[in-house]
Amino acid sequence: MPINYYILLSVALFSIGIVGVLTRRNAIIIFMCIEIMLNAVNLLLVAFSKMHHLRALVADRATTVGTDAQLFVFFIMVVAAAEVTVGLAIIVMLYRNIHSVDINFLNRLKH
């Protein structure tokens, strides 16, 4: 299966995430769309790692090329977990202050 399919799948997932961020007004849904975008990038990184590894495997049977990309994905997941914790805490705090998660009410920085 060629790498093109993975590229197209990741591009499609990323675009769906962007459309979600732009169309929805609920802050939590926007946050979930950001998670979709992160996962699209992770998927592409793993696919490229596998591709790179299979090409290096032809020359050398014991190669470990491509491990770095998978560890990058691991660290992206770590950072995403921390980000979700803080982001949801911020959303809960906003809900407590304005009793809504509608981002159209969150335009106080504009004025």
Partner: protein, 172 residues
């Protein structure tokens, strides 16, 4: 069409459909449930690429922990009503058009990629197994690993600080 290709297309269709349903479903709880299906299908893709450690981590961290957190916050806010605010029609059309044109540009730029170089589905190659990843993680990447623990500690402190009920609020 081999079984692996069938699995690939099934997981791809599930991921795309789930992502669309996350964006377009009215009820936030349904969005969370569809997002869980997206994460599971992406884990399936990782398994197909023999990245088993990442598949398990994706299932535990994303589909397990993060989604439970989302669901918990949504239920805390009592947002399971269908009466949630929508953007105006023209704004939604403009947003869909801009997202679609981004996708068009990316596809047009990447469609001539040389697809012959890889067989992503070949099971050979064991870099995704936990033995190899753990060895590299605790030798070459031990400093980022330790720093990420500091990141988690600060995220925990920040979440507790933000979620705490304040007597004299800084915000308002």
């Amino acid at each position: 069409m081999s079984i692996i290709e069938i699995l690939f297309w099934f997981l791809t269709a599930l991921a795309l459909f789930g992502a669309l349903m996350v964006v377009f479903s009215k009820n936030p709880v349904h969005s969370v449930l569809w997002l869980i299906s997206v994460f599971f299908s992406i884990s399936g893709h990782y398994i197909l690429m023999n990245a088993q450690f990442l598949a398990i981590v994706n299932m535990i961290v994303y589909a397990g922990a993060i989604m439970v957190l989302f669901l918990f916050v949504i239920m805390l806010m009592n947002m399971n009503t269908e009466s949630e605010p929508q953007k105006s029609k023209w704004l939604r059309i403009a947003a869909s058009l801009s997202g679609g044109s981004l996708m068009l540009v990316l596809v047009a730029a990447l469609k001539d990629t040389n697809g012959k170089v890889t067989g992503v589905f070949k099971v050979e190659g064991n870099i995704g197994l936990i033995k190899n990843l753990g060895q590299v993680l605790f030798t070459d990447y031990v400093l980022p690993f330790e720093i990420s623990s500091v990141l988690f500690l600060s995220a925990m402190v920040g979440a507790v600080l933000l979620g705490k009920k304040e007597t004299n609020s800084i915000i308002s």
